[in-house]
């Protein structure tokens, strides 16, 4: 979680300095979902993200340097600078792709789960999406097919209460998106998305079910993004009191205080984790900013395999 937080805070700084461009969607405050859910997976499992997907790639084990280089548009980035923040792919780590289209990767994950089921090696697929994706057609079609065919797929809904600038309540009367899973006869759970252990527990149960051939599970994680929809969004559509309240529920602070309380780590060890994360990210930023840009002549290469 610290690595994700440190990465995104650094990315935000680099964005403000103009060293990273594009449309940048940060998930600061939502780290427990990615860390908890991916904690239930192995390297061979498939993960798909949405448009706010840095956390999922990192949690799945993507290389921080190559990720940072991609955001900086460098040739040594995972996608040779052709993807950027919304189109990260780190196939070596099983992070297949993110997407710029809300709900766009849900059907793709369905396909990976289908392939995994046919291959019979116990792989599973997991797809992350926000509450806004609950209103697109392919979301419902995918829930239906995953359930109908009992595919080894874990739907992880990061319900942060806002679809872009608009509260969920203005988009649907369905408060809990896990209710949709019920419609399609799919096991489901709604958990505290800022509690990394609760997320991990739900994801582990889902992964075990999927690997045992018992089909898909829908895990709704209630969380909150502490930043705007994208960097530069002043997020005037929400009350400061709401933001303050969620800051108190910061998933990293909550988990570290638990570790302290249970005396699993002492203060120095906790500080060390944060320090190491920041050092890794700083090193990645240095690598990325010093790396060469792609040759402009590569613009029309890799259009076809």
């Amino acid at each position: 979680m610290w690595l994700i937080r440190a990465f995104e805070e650094r990315v935000s700084e680099l964005f403000q300095r103009g060293q990273i461009g594009g449309l940048l969607h940060l998930g600061i405050g939502q780290e427990a979902v990615a860390a908890g859910a991916c904690g239930a997976l192995g390297r061979d499992d498939y993960v798909f993200g949405g448009h706010r997907a840095h956390a999922h790639a990192i949690a799945k084990g993507a290389d921080i340097k190559r990720l940072m280089a991609e955001l900086a548009g460098r040739a040594s980035g995972y996608c040779r600078g052709k993807g950027g923040s919304m189109h990260i792919a780190a196939m070596e780590a099983g992070f297949v792709t993110a997407t710029g289209v809300v709900g766009g990767t849900i059907p793709l994950a369905l396909g990976a789960a289908f392939a995994a089921k046919e291959r019979r090696q116990g792989q599973v697929a997991m797809v992350f999406f926000g509450d806004g994706a609950g209103q697109v057609g392919p979301f419902h079609e995918s829930l239906n097919i995953a359930s109908l065919w009992q595919l080894p797929l874990i739907f992880v809904c990061e319900n942060n209460g806002y679809a872009e600038f608009t509260p969920l309540s203005a988009h649907t009367l369905v408060e809990r998106l896990a209710d949709h899973a019920r419609t399609y006869r799919m096991p489901n759970a709604t958990v505290d998305g800022n509690d990394v252990l609760a997320v991990r527990k739900a994801a582990r149960g889902a992964a075990a079910r999927a690997r045992a051939g018992k089909g898909p599970t829908f895990v709704e994680c209630l969380t909150y993004r502490l930043r705007g929809h994208y960097e530069g969004d002043p997020a005037k559509y929400r009350e400061l009191s709401e933001l303050r309240e969620w800051k108190r529920k910061d998933p990293i602070a909550r988990f570290t205080s638990l570790l302290r309380r249970k005396r699993l780590l002492d203060e120095a060890e906790i500080e060390n984790i944060e320090r190491e994360a920041r050092a890794t990210v700083n090193e990645a930023a240095e690598f990325a900013l010093g790396a060469p840009f792609p040759d402009p002549e590569e613009v029309a290469t890799q259009v076809y395999a």
């Binding site: 996608c79 189109h87 997407t99 059907p107 046919e118 079609e141 076809y304 395999a305």
Partner: protein, 338 residues
């Protein structure tokens, strides 16, 4: 070499590729039952329901499913029952299938074949008759093939399935019963190679899909009037075998392009533009296009007949180009009110 229908040739390609490669899977609505035109008949019995997968009516998600399966190592063939319904799958096809290889810097591959059928026939109306291939020609990352006969249908479908890129394979419903000699064995036709259907000296006639039939009929008639027409079937619209077109135009000095899709913004515009860029000095006459008016496909028989260009319109265009005259733009080929 044996005579086969277009429908049977497509089924033979699917069967042979499924037998050859265990990762080839078919997805589509009602396909385990053969589909509305019987193209996939018997394949579910032969290969099992796990490889010939009947899907719910969820075009967009089924397209995405096939793309995801392709990325994860399968070689899916997804059937969209009517090309008109591909509108529901455009996000997955255009934003994901076409771009994943590029956006991932080459990490992902999408060996996907999308079988669609379309074209005007028998009063199917505006939602079951369109020719939308030009849309896909405009999307980098997709390949688009339009087989006009049984041999090409088989050979191009095999090439599409073996290709590591998404290929949109456009069948014409009006050709399913058409018979042609189909070579024994693989008979793979390389995507991006045109075929000269008839040699000629006076006019190059490029015809797409089912228009090849009409073009050959027109050429036959024109020959009796002393006009020698060379008929070229591009077979693949993206990539396009421009060399074959240019080579012919250098010989004839005249070019007519015929397709069933609407003229405005159609694939013929791209062919015409590329041909004049590459061979303007050789042209003795304006390039002419014969295509459908700028209208949805109508239902009523006389309207439908008026919509689809036939051999008469093609022959008339050839005569015009022989005269070297420019042609007054037809108002029905342009957007207009009233």
């Amino acid at each position: 070499m044996a005579e086969q229908t277009y429908r049977d040739a497509i089924r033979a390609a699917l069967r042979e590729e499924m037998a050859r490669d265990q990762t080839v899977y078919l997805f589509g609505e009602d396909i385990a039952l053969g589909g509305p035109f019987g193209v996939t008949s018997g394949l579910a019995q032969e290969f099992g329901a796990n490889r010939v997968v009947n899907t719910p009516i969820s075009e967009g998600t089924v397209m995405g499913l096939a793309i995801g399966a392709a990325v994860a190592g399968l070689r899916p063939v997804v059937e969209v029952m009517f090309i008109d319904f591909i509108t529901l799958a455009m996000d997955q096809l255009v934003n994901h299938a076409a771009k994943l290889h590029y956006m991932s810097g080459g990490q992902l591959r999408v060996p996907l074949t999308v079988r669609v059928q379309g074209g005007v026939m028998a009063g199917f109306g505006a939602h079951h008759s369109q020719s939308l291939e030009a849309w896909f020609v405009h999307v980098p990352g997709l390949k688009v093939v339009v087989p006009s006969n049984a041999a090409d249908a088989k050979g191009l479908l095999k090439a599409a399935i073996r290709d590591d890129n998404p290929v949109v394979f456009v069948e014409h419903r009006g050709l399913y019963a058409a018979r042609a000699e189909v070579p024994d064995g693989d008979g793979v036709v390389a995507i991006g190679t045109a075929a000269v259907r008839r040699e000629g000296a006076d006019v190059t006639l490029v015809a797409i899909g089912r228009m090849v039939e009409s073009a050959l009929a027109a050429a036959e008639e024109l020959a009796t009037q002393g006009v020698s027409v060379e008929v070229i079937d591009p077979r693949s619209l993206c990539p396009l075998d421009l060399d074959a077109v240019v080579k012919s135009v250098r010989k004839t000095g005249r070019l007519v392009i015929a397709h069933e899709a609407v003229l405005y913004g159609g694939a013929g515009a791209e062919i015409a533009s590329q041909a004049q860029e590459a061979a303007l000095d050789y042209l003795d006459s304006p390039i002419l296009r014969v295509a459908a008016p700028f209208a949805p496909v109508p239902y009523s028989r006389p309207l439908e007949k008026r919509f689809v260009p036939g051999k008469e319109e093609i022959a008339a265009a050839v005569h015009s180009t022989m005269r070297g005259a420019t042609v007054r733009p037809q108002p029905q080929n342009r957007p207009r009110s009233g």
